[in-house]
Symmetry: C2
Subunit: 336 residues, 2 copies
């Protein structure tokens, strides 16, 4: 039995111009909505992350306490639980699943919160990586609904270099002829393994490996670390990975009819208090990108995580990084 | 007609235990050896670089003046000019070309210099990237022969993360079934293209792309930049690329019978004055690695190149970086 719920969105008109029938948004809630309906936290998911990984982060960031807060985890389209290439019927299945944007994701999440869960105000939207991109999108689309945001190791818009890094992992996966333009009958294992091997160079810092930090994850060697990441990605369908990758590559909080590509205007529209926490050794979501964003925001603070865990500093798995992030979340929540 | 010469090494016993017959070392010289034989500069080649690329660097670093110096460029085994998978006869051809180390390369270059060119002292060994690795190797193997070295964007030993980056590009290339374990009849184009696309994320800095610095190379877009690198790599045979990649991954100036893996001892044995110039935004040959090396050397200075061109800062193509490097070379050469 699935440990999550499905919100049936019906037909969804996507930004790309295609209309996805019977669209499903997978989500899970923790705690109870209080009488004042003012204890809501939303934590959208990151690339490849599902319920279990988000629960790990919640355990590490103790301010996210289900005894006090009503916490909602909506799953990214393409992650295998919400509508994805792997679980959608023809003519939108597999290689022809439509391109879905961060905007599409957040508009659907807003429907879940308002139409289904009866939420009117959100105390905090936080997220790691692509989750951070969704937090930015929430705050600019619904400025009067979102009180605070905590984008962790993520940006409001995917930078050119970040786009290029993703081009690399995509090229590694699709170089495998078994991928067959997405119409494979059995998983393109060689391509998936290459995808993970390329990805591994990016997701921690260079120093992480020199200092053998992977040992703190119970991994004995560099090759053990590669296999660990292979396990993370190989449980996913290849088309699902590519669908989320497209969403990531095209993330831009202003790419919608409200802001028409005016990036600065979209940032200025954010009313939420923002605590932006990049990893100071992250190789693709860079502190510099957040710095440029924060300079345009009304009420934002940049607070880099001092860590050699690179991007993974924000994943919620390493106790010292978790302490740092949790202190920030505690401030935003005004908790004791 | 080839614009380089071949030094016939005959049978060469390699560190891996295999003996390569009719081994060829391609090289080119510029200028004349003076009567005192004290004007010799050696510049070993970098990954994928051949004569033309090194001549570009020489033009950019004006201290390398053939009117004053006798400059020797020995080509790396595997680069398609010296013995390589693509130009060696069975049973050492193509997929079964032996693993060649930086040590093997430098021992053969030493034979070229001493047996063939009549050189006894070298004023400067400099090199970019894998060329820098060879400069370190020269200085520790022949401490009384080498007066100064300038390792540019390269380390004495390949770091774990650098190894991992190379695992990624290798995985992208070999994910293509057309690679056929190295026994392809036609080039594995899809794999070579994936190789270049992954590589592109690494060879410049993140800021390089945000600032559109590629325009200074006459490239209009991110995709133009990827195609540019594709051109650089696709002129090479896939097995050649993998042969040089193996050499790079296993670079360690102490991995030989002289130093038996004692990295510190090998660094301490260097007598040459060393000016070590990493790129301060290089993503794989890191300043931190050079810093740890310099701390163990007798007469070494660390002088990072302030540039957002990443690794390419040391390639000899961007005038401001060239000026910085050239000033350092001028100091080493004691030139006017």
């Amino acid at each position: 039995m699935a440990d999550y719920e499905i919100f049936e969105l019906g037909q969804v008109a996507l930004q790309c111009g295609l209309t996805l029938p019977q669209t499903k948004l997978a989500y899970k809630t923790y705690g109870e909505l209080n009488a004042q309906r003012d204890n809501v936290i939303v934590m959208p998911t990151f690339y490849g992350g599902q319920i279990a990984e988000n629960e790990t982060a919640m355990a590490g960031w103790r301010s996210l306490d289900p005894k006090k807060y009503f916490i909602v985890i909506p799953n990214l389209f393409g992650n295998g639980l919400s509508s994805s290439p792997s679980n959608t019927a023809p003519p939108f299945d597999r290689a022809v699943f439509p391109h879905v944007t961060i905007f599409d994701n957040v508009v659907c999440q807003h429907r879940l919160l308002t139409e289904h869960l009866g939420v009117k105000r959100i105390k905090l939207v936080l997220g790691f990586s692509m989750g951070a991109q969704q937090a930015y999108q929430w705050a600019t689309l619904y400025p009067d609904m979102v009180e605070t945001i905590a984008p962790i190791c993520g940006s409001a818009r995917t930078s050119p270099h970040n786009f290029l890094f993703l081009e690399g992992v995509k090229a590694a996966l699709t170089a495998d002829a078994a991928f067959a333009e997405g119409w494979y009958q059995t998983p393109p294992v060689k391509g998936l393994r290459a995808f993970a091997r390329v990805y591994m160079g990016w997701c921690f810092s260079q120093d992480f490996f020199r200092e053998h930090e992977y040992r703190k994850m119970g991994l004995a060697s560099l090759e053990d670390s590669v296999r660990f990441l292979e396990g993370y990605f190989r449980r996913h369908d290849a088309n699902d990975l590519l669908a989320m990758l497209w969403t990531w590559q095209h993330a831009d909080l202003s790419a919608n009819s409200t802001y028409k590509g005016d990036f600065v205007a979209a940032l200025k529209a954010i009313k939420a208090r923002a605590l932006v926490m990049p990893g100071n050794t992250d190789l693709y979501f860079r502190t510099r990108d957040n710095e440029l964003e924060v300079a345009q925001m009304r009420n934002a603070e940049l607070r880099p995580i001092p860590s050699i865990w690179g991007h993974v500093a924000g994943l919620g798995v390493y106790p010292p990084d978790n302490e740092f992030i949790d202190a920030g979340l505690k401030e935003l929540l005004g908790a004791d």
